[in-house]
């Protein structure tokens, strides 16, 4: 038990060292001591004139820090909704895009780039992402309830439909616009600024708060509808709430980062293997580990090559081997009885 506690604390606090580590990384070199000095100065007297070169200030406070915060927010949103939806769908192989959200967001991005240059990509992606999730839910809903199998199937249908529409747009659009689109679809945080944080953070917070506060109830919900009902849960209402909250968090994350795969599937898994499936611990730790992982992946995207690699590619490339390792090590028994 003591060992579990140590793992818990390490995972819970992991974002702090990763945050500071990431501050020091970047294409433009600023001496680490200067960075620490700048941070202190900014915290102690934020409004006095800064004694450092203007480029330093711009890079640290307007580029690196917002990007770091955004990476962490996206990690939190994807991992906690992934963990939640895995419980709701009673399937550890579910990812946050199961409701067709990513394809909807992709479609939103595509029309914004191709036809509506005046409308921000983020807004379009957010709206169409939620719309897709909504349509999925609507298709699956029968007169009285929403069976999970129908939800999964409806999600597949909606995804296929929206991705087909995206393909049509890709086919028609001019090559210059196409490359922007493809880059966005692969997922990247290169466009982060404070505005992206102001627009996405409140929604991510509103979406994640209920997941965090009501997380223990996910244990019972993951045992199946009839059991959850007999334990006193209004299954239809609570499941709908969890799905809506997850969709909101994911849609706002996707709107600022593009489609970043694997994080929402992998992080809950990893945490479950390390600390067990109890959602009372799983949700908060998925949040912190998701934040750390997303941030490290983005660090790699920033520094590995002189040009930027979309972070979605990094999450997949770094995630797959780790996943395979855990699986081979005997992790299977953790989710398959």
């Amino acid at each position: 038990m003591a060992k579990q506690k140590i793992i818990y604390i390490i995972l819970a606090l992991s974002p702090i060292p990763v945050f500071f580590f990431s501050l020091f990384l970047g294409a433009y070199e600023i001496p680490p001591l200067t960075i620490i000095y700048m941070l202190f100065k900014k915290i102690i007297s934020p409004f006095t004139r800064s004694p450092w070169p203007e480029t330093y200030g711009a890079i640290l406070f307007d580029i690196r820090i917002p990007r770091i915060i955004l990476a962490m927010l996206v990690g939190v949103a994807l991992s906690s909704s992934g963990a939640t939806l895995q419980a709701i769908f009673r399937n550890p192989l579910v990812d946050p895009y199961i409701l067709g959200l990513s394809s909807g967001a992709a479609f939103g991005c595509a029309i914004s780039i191709a036809f509506l240059p005046g409308v921000p990509i983020q807004l379009c992606a957010f709206i169409f992402g939620l719309l897709a999730a909504f349509i999925t839910y609507g298709i699956a809903k029968t007169r009285r309830e929403v069976p999970t199998l129908s939800l999964v199937l409806a999600g597949i249908i909606v995804s296929a439909l929206f991705f087909a529409l995206v393909s049509i747009i890709k086919f028609m659009v001019d090559p210059h616009k196409l490359s922007t689109m493809v880059y966005w679809l692969m997922g990247s945080l290169s466009l982060s600024d404070w505005k992206a944080i102001y627009t996405s953070a409140p929604w991510i917070f509103v979406g994640c708060a209920p997941l965090f506060l009501m997380r223990w109830r996910l244990n019972a919900l993951s045992m199946g509808d009839e059991e959850a009902k007999s334990l006193g849960i209004d299954v239809g209402r609570e499941r709908g709430m969890f799905i809506a909250a997850s969709a909101l968090a994911v849609a706002s994350a996707v709107s600022v980062s593009g489609i970043i795969g694997w994080v929402g599937l992998m992080i809950p898994h990893m945490v479950r293997m390390l600390i067990g499936p109890d959602h009372k611990r799983l949700i908060p730790l998925s949040m912190t580990v998701g934040a750390s992982f997303m941030l490290l992946a983005d660090d790699l995207a920033r520094i590995v090559t002189t040009f930027e690699i979309p972070v979605g590619i990094i999450t997949t490339i770094s995630g797959a081997p780790f996943f395979i390792y855990l699986l081979k090590r005997g992790g299977v028994k953790v989710w398959a009885p």
Binding site: A87, R90, N91, P92, L213, M214, R215, W216, R217, N219, A220, S222, M223, G224, E226, E227, K229, S230, L231, G232, I233, D234, R272, G276, P277, D278, K280, K333, V334, W335, P337
Partner: protein, 258 residues
Amino acid sequence: MIQVRDLILRHKKLTILDGIGFNALPEEVTTIFGPNASGKTSLIKCINGTWNFDEGTITLDGQRIFRLKRRGMAKLLATVPQEHHPPFPYTTLEVVLMGRLPHVGLFSWPSQRDKGVAVKALEAVGIGHLAERPYTQISGGERQLTLIARSLAQEPKILLLDEPTAHLDFKNQISVLRVVRDLAKKEGLTVLLTLHDPNLSLIFSDKVALLNKGKMVAFGKPSSVITRENLKNVYDLDVDFLSQDGLRFIYPKIPGVE
């Protein structure tokens, strides 16, 4: 105490339960006994509010069930499902703690006191030592006992069990039913369960309700319900009885088998 009166359940054009009526009393084990598709599980699902029935009344400790909210119902009545593999390997204690759900606030989780109740429930069914084991890695019988412990953690007055002996081996069938019977006697619970096996029904029940094709064929003491005539009627099977040590056992008379 469960009171069922003139219960009718229809599904499309079929009448699944047809005018069922009986009382199940505290400190007693009442068994619903009958062949497949006789309506045993449907009756359980009507009583625990999973399904809405068409006519009649069901009252639990004097309260009509349609007046009860989910949470209130869960404090009064616990249903023990058949054992199964959940998708995630919760520890046995975590599974039992789920039983505290109706007592724990919406934005909260089990307190130290809730944990105490759960541990006591595990001990009451005799598997306190399994608390930290993954629920997916214990035996079927132990899983069934865990689910009974979870129901106890709800601190209900009424316990429903739908075929608690299905999928269990002979020894585990006996140990589960013994635990259930002890709970009725010691804790004063009203226990209602469904069974397939006439001998187990004879041994462990205080009252038996014999169901066939949605109708109640007989209700009362086991020895007066599980009779040669009734079984011939319901199963179309010739049976006979053996008496030993004050217990009666039933066996089928099969031509050619001596």
